[in-house]
Symmetry: C2
Subunit: 244 residues, 2 copies
């Protein structure tokens, strides 16, 4: 085994070990809560009682509070001092804010692909390919929340092309917050359907290495998506509660 080969092997083993024992009761509890929130079981505005959840999750109050902190920094919970933790209620201003950041980050990632030193290997696009097919299958089965999930993963993988740990983390937060918004919208089909095909189109542009065109396309794509969510919001007659 070559020396560099041995170093690479050591790194992969270290990564495996880190993945195995990353358990920790707090993170497990956070996983359960995260799913409950993103799947809509805990709607925006809901309060999470400490004593209640300690019984359900079978962890101590301190551990539960650590789980709360984790989710707070993902944007999925907000703390109100001496009043408790709540699922945040996002408003129009948050939609605008989130989409501004999405546009900045995602478009920059795509545009940055053109000047890469080692050209982007086709294999890097495979996860996005899978996401597109999952979305199409879910759409045929009328499972629109699953379409939304696949769409999220598509964009997360898109950001992943930049090989930036911090961009990945930021995007994880942004998309998690976006999910909170989806649950106040009544018509998931109208919301998600148009983007199944647009994701495929975007992917094809990337495969053809037409990065600038893909970036322009994605920019308009995100503008349209933002407009759709804002329109759905105004239809529901929801005012922005983001200053409470």
């Amino acid at each position: 085994m070559t020396e560099t080969g041995r170093q690479a092997w050591l790194r992969t083993v270290a990564a495996d070990v880190a993945r195995l024992d990353r358990s920790s009761s707090a993170e497990r509890a956070a996983d359960i809560l995260r799913r409950s929130i993103t799947e809509g079981a805990l709607p925006p505005g809901a309060q999470l009682s400490e004593v209640e959840l300690t019984e359900v999750l079978e962890v101590s109050r301190n551990t539960l509070r650590e789980a709360f902190r984790l989710l707070t920094h993902e944007g999925l919970l907000v703390y109100k001092l001496h009043r408790g933790v709540f699922v945040p209620e996002l408003g129009e201003q948050d939609v605008i804010d989130l989409y501004r950041l999405r546009r900045v980050l995602e478009v920059d990632v795509v545009r940055g692909l053109s000047g890469r030193d080692p050209e982007l290997p086709a294999r890097r696009l495979e996860p996005m390919h899978d996401d597109v097919e999952v979305a199409e299958a879910a759409a045929r089965a009328d499972r629109w929340p699953a379409v939304g999930t696949a769409n999220m993963r598509f964009h997360q993988h898109l950001i992943g092309l930049a090989d930036s740990a911090r961009m990945d983390a930021m995007t994880g937060r942004l998309l998690a917050e976006l999910r909170l918004l989806f649950h106040v919208i009544a018509a998931p089909r109208e919301l998600h359907e148009p983007y199944i095909e647009r994701n495929r189109g975007l992917l094809e542009l990337l495969e053809a290495r037409k990065y600038d065109q893909a970036a322009d396309d994605l920019h308009q794509y995100l503008l349209d998506s933002e407009r759709g969510i804002l329109a759905a919001f105004r239809d529901k007659g929801l005012q922005t509660p983001s200053d409470t």
Copy 2:
């Protein structure tokens, strides 16, 4: 008092109240630790002992651990399971990552100023003006760490022009991490001095509403700054320990 005036006043009062009782022992402890880290008292690689800090900060272990969590999600501490919390040691890869994000965010903010609906009021640039003068005064007094602090505030205020809460939060994190890097560099003067004048130049372009030129200038500015830090890094012969 006009109605909108009254609303604005209510908001400022609410902000003051929120700042006052944002106490919470955990956050107070986190504040102290944050300062110790960003000012270099706790150098990268240092371990923070729980029992030791409970005595110094006069908080319980549980509260201290909450403070650790807070700082962990700001990137100022890292947890190693069953081994403790450490001040992270950043490497060249982190420099590249951080600067990529800075360029994307800051340049976009400046470029976005051109199409604003209500044109940017001159008063919004005042905080940056103050930062520039503070930096110049500190430089005359040979207080280079203070120059670095003022420079950070300048860029934080620059991002603030976008009125995006999430951009503000992200930038806070990015700049805090950047500070970790500064402490491994021996020559703070060479590091910070060139950018005092460039900040002033940038500000003048903004005051003249030459936003596109300012954006181009800022882009090059950040490229130069990144190159300077990377050069200082390689001089020290530091290899990137970011995979440990």
